[in-house]
């Protein structure tokens, strides 16, 4: 046999659900708060959601951030946000105020060709997004997420039971909200790429949860006399090594993206890294305990059809 990280474990996951619920409640509250802020447009929204202009320049020589900021202020771009990537002498300028006149990007570029005449640059990217488009993108993303959650609940309700579907959805939203909350607290930007990352980790978390549910269902059939808590604990323990191995492999892939993927993938892979940890936690400590809380008083009659 190959290596084994875990032998047979016997951890009382269900018994620790109170602590998990408290921790999750705190984390999720932060997440909900940040979701509200995102919705109100108060969070650090990317220009794809907020509307506005962004320009990324790549200079030939190193430059001083202060000088760039000053140049923009003098030329009437006071509200611009600057970010410097020292690798490759890159500068990202964002103006999160959508104007209807357009051509803001051109004006910014011409400011730099005037003020930085001795330091040549190429334009890496420019983005201009009108306010209406930003709102549409935001709404579309939300609708897509909600409809897919409903689809998922229906399938799991059919395969398992309604409460399993709901609990899986809760656990998945839990992960998404926690990562969103962490991004919000860190002041990182909420943009379409983050939404993609959130969808990705929702996929992982869902798979994790379904794997555990499957084992619970199987064990409920095999050990009909055992109390529910015992069956659930046994199931989580049995799949624990799979949970950890999968987490490690995905973590390895993401850490490579995080370290070597460049600035475009940086925040994306960061979200995935946190998300994988949170997702693993939630499938063990959130998804199953919720089912337990709902089901504990009643006689379990789970569908055993396969």
């Amino acid at each position: 046999m190959g290596i084994q990280i875990l032998g047979k474990t016997n951890i009382d996951f269900i018994g620790k659900r109170k602590y998990a619920f408290i921790l999750s409640a705190v984390l999720v509250s932060v997440g909900i708060l940040s979701l509200v802020q995102v919705w109100r447009g108060q969070a650090n929204l990317g220009i794809d959601f907020a509307g506005g202009t962004s320009v990324q320049l790549k200079f030939e020589k190193p430059f001083q951030l202060d000088k760039a900021r000053h140049a923009l202020e003098v030329n009437g771009f006071k509200d611009s946000e600057l970010q410097q990537f020292t690798e490759g002498n890159k500068l990202l300028i964002q103006l999160k105020k959508s104007t209807t006149e357009g051509k803001v990007a051109d004006k910014i570029v011409s400011v730099f060709s005037k003020e930085f005449a001795d330091n040549k640059f190429v334009i890496d990217s420019t983005t201009e997004i009108g306010p209406k488009v930003g709102k549409t993108l935001r709404d579309d993303a939300l609708i897509a997420v909600i409809v897919s959650a409903i689809g998922m609940i229906v399938y799991l309700a059919w395969r398992f039971e309604f409460v399993f579907g709901v609990a899986a959805a809760v656990a998945t939203f839990h992960d998404v909200l926690v990562v969103l909350g962490i991004f919000f607290l860190l002041g990182k930007e909420v943009n379409l790429l983050l939404v993609t990352a959130l969808l990705t980790l929702a996929g992982y978390s869902l798979t994790d949860t379904v794997v555990i549910y499957d084992r619970i269902r199987e064990n409920l059939r095999l050990h009909t006399r055992d109390p529910l808590a015992a069956v659930m604990n046994r199931s989580v323990n049995e799949v624990l090594s799979r949970t950890i191995v999968t987490t490690i492999t995905v973590f390895l892939a993401c850490i490579a993206l995080f370290l070597f993927g460049g600035e475009v993938l940086h925040d994306f892979s960061f979200a995935l890294l946190i998300g994988i940890c949170v997702g693993t936690y939630s499938s063990v400590f959130v998804a199953s305990p919720i089912v337990y809380e709902v089901r504990k008083g009643k006689k379990v009659k789970i569908r055993t059809r396969r």
């Binding site: 990007a105 897509a144 897919s148 996929g203 798979t207 390895l252 993401c254």
Partner: protein
């Protein structure tokens, strides 16, 4: 058993060959002739975020098309009234989209209402007011007609922009309608984004208007604009200093001729000054019209106006027949050639507004590809090594499944001409993660069965059996999510959903038969006592 193994192995090999066949055009730069004749040439396209390019979302201001249709009605009605000698005080479009006609007396009213009923039945009378013997009509357009005009403005706009882009010469442009009145334009790998915007966004309405020489320009600039005239400007760029000045002209509002009579427009160079200009060819109707206009207005100045900018206002020296004219100005050769393109492709029926513009320079695109690829390779290598170390020889089987997955996925994407974007790569990462997970699930299950003391063959069989439904459940849930996201999501989310759903379906195939067939084959050949897992 042996037949089943052969059958499954054949299926795997067949799909592998097919995938590689589809991948060749993507990987090989120049395909030999015999290949393009018989074999697939579809490629995986890189999205704009990866290869650089321009993504524009244009909103067609369809209201403007309706307004100009109303203007046309108003001027037609005016002509009819003049021709029939009906005195009318005023015929014009109101700001809220109606046509107001004021008639001085009852007799004029009688004759007008007859003409309206006969010729303009499609214009409904919204209101008719009588005041001190004067009659004021407010006519409005049938809402269906207005809607048809709006729809055709988008359709024609799309066609016109497609024409312009085609003539400009961009490889693989995407020009599609989006929503009710938006047009999505994607131009991959474009080098001069500003020039492309000028080319696409320009309305290019060409008009010939007489200079109003009966009234004084100075008076008009002071605010005493004579009725029926307007002030438009000519931009003059000083060649040496680059200073731009604006020169005003007082022009008759009414356009004598517009650009819809053009059959051709070309950039030419004046040989004596080496100065570019645009030559225009008119169709028969245009040639007749131009002949008539020039004959009637000898020694007067005729202004050539494009999108309300005066380009030149030469004095008509003599009657010009033959159907040719030219636009000169201080053009660079690029400007002249772009102008010729937009004139040839025709005017947009309504102006467009750029509401989204994402441009990625080729350097960032290349940078993203390089870094993303390197990171993905490192990540894949880490996973492959981990699996081999953790599960031994069985881990190598999992790596084989991973390889199959990636090749199948790429092959499928190529055959569908799918576009690979950054979010698409995220989808692939998730799908590959799930592929690894499927194997982990099975291997852990097989380990459990082995721990129970089963033989290798029995452990493998029951491990697969038991893991099977878990794998199906997790894949189907993910597939549901992916399909919904594809249906409802836009742009980047769609790109994510495409690769994810493809990946999930392919992974189901490889997970169910890709590795199992090798286990079966080994077990068939000899009775294993122990399994490296």
């Amino acid at each position: 058993m042996w037949r089943s193994i052969q059958w499954r192995a054949g299926l795997i090999a067949g799909f592998l060959a097919l995938s590689i066949l589809f991948l060749v055009p993507t990987l090989v730069d120049r395909l030999p002739k015999w290949w393009t004749k018989f074999l697939p040439t579809e490629k995986i396209n890189l999205g704009l975020d990866l290869r650089g390019g321009m993504h524009l979302l244009l909103e067609v201001e369809t209201q403007k098309a309706v307004e100009s249709a109303l203007d046309k009605y108003a001027s037609e009605i005016k002509d009819v009234l003049i021709k029939k000698d009906i005195p009318a005080r005023q015929v014009e479009r109101t700001p809220d989209g109606k046509i107001s006609v004021v008639l001085p007396d009852a007799k004029a009213n009688d004759r007008f209402s007859q003409i309206r009923a006969e010729q303009y039945g499609n214009l409904r009378v919204a209101s008719l007011r009588e005041q001190e013997g004067k009659f004021q009509y407010l006519l409005e357009m049938n809402p269906n007609e207005a809607k048809a005009i709006e729809e055709s403005a988008v359709r024609q706009g799309l066609e016109t922009i497609r024409n312009r882009v085609d003539q400009f010469g961009v490889a693989e442009p995407v020009i599609v309608p989006q929503g009710d009145k938006e047009i999505l334009v994607q131009l991959p790998g474009i080098k001069e984004p500003q020039r492309a915007i000028e080319l696409i966004g320009r309305t290019a309405l060409l008009e010939f208007k007489l200079v109003d020489e009966e009234n004084s320009l100075e008076e008009a600039l002071k605010g005493n604009l004579p009725p029926g005239s307007e002030i438009l400007y000519q931009k003059i760029t000083e060649k040496d200093t680059g200073v731009v000045t604006r020169r005003p002209y007082l022009l008759k509002k009414r356009a004598l001729m517009t650009g819809d009579v053009l059959t051709d427009a070309r950039m030419r160079i004046k040989s004596d000054f080496n100065e570019p200009y645009v030559s225009l060819d008119f169709d028969n109707r245009g040639a007749r019209l131009f002949d008539q206009i020039t004959a009637e207005n000898v020694k007067k100045r005729l202004a050539i106006v494009l999108d309300n900018n005066v380009y030149s206002a030469p004095v008509i020296q003599e009657r010009i027949s033959g159907g040719k004219a030219q636009i000169s100005g201080s053009f660079t050769p690029e400007e002249a050639s772009d102008l010729a393109i937009v004139l040839r492709a025709g005017a947009l029926p309504a102006p467009v507004k750029i509401i989204q513009n994402v441009t990625v320079g080729p350097s960032l695109g290349q940078d993203s590809i390089d870094k993303g690829l390197r990171a993905a390779l490192i990540g894949a290598a880490l996973v492959v090594i981990f699996m081999a170390v953790y599960y031994g020889l069985s881990g190598l089987l999992a790596d084989w499944a991973l390889f199959l997955n990636i090749v199948y996925l790429m092959g499928a994407m190529a055959s569908m001409r799918a576009t690979l974007t950054l979010p698409g790569i995220a989808g692939i990462i998730l799908a590959i993660g799930m592929a690894v997970d499927s194997n982990v699930l099975m291997f852990e299950r097989i380990r459990e069965e082995l721990r129970l003391g089963k033989t290798v063959r029995a452990a493998v069989d029951s491990g697969y059996d038991k893991a099977l439904f878990t794998i199906i459940d997790s894949h189907v849930t993910t597939l549901i999510t992916a399909v919904v996201l594809f249906q409802f999501g836009t742009g980047p989310i769609k790109g994510f959903a495409v690769t994810l759903s493809l990946g999930v379906v392919i992974n189901l195939f490889t997970a169910l038969i890709g590795t199992k067939v090798i286990f079966d084959w080994i077990n068939f050949k000899k009775q294993l006592k122990a399994l490296s897992i």
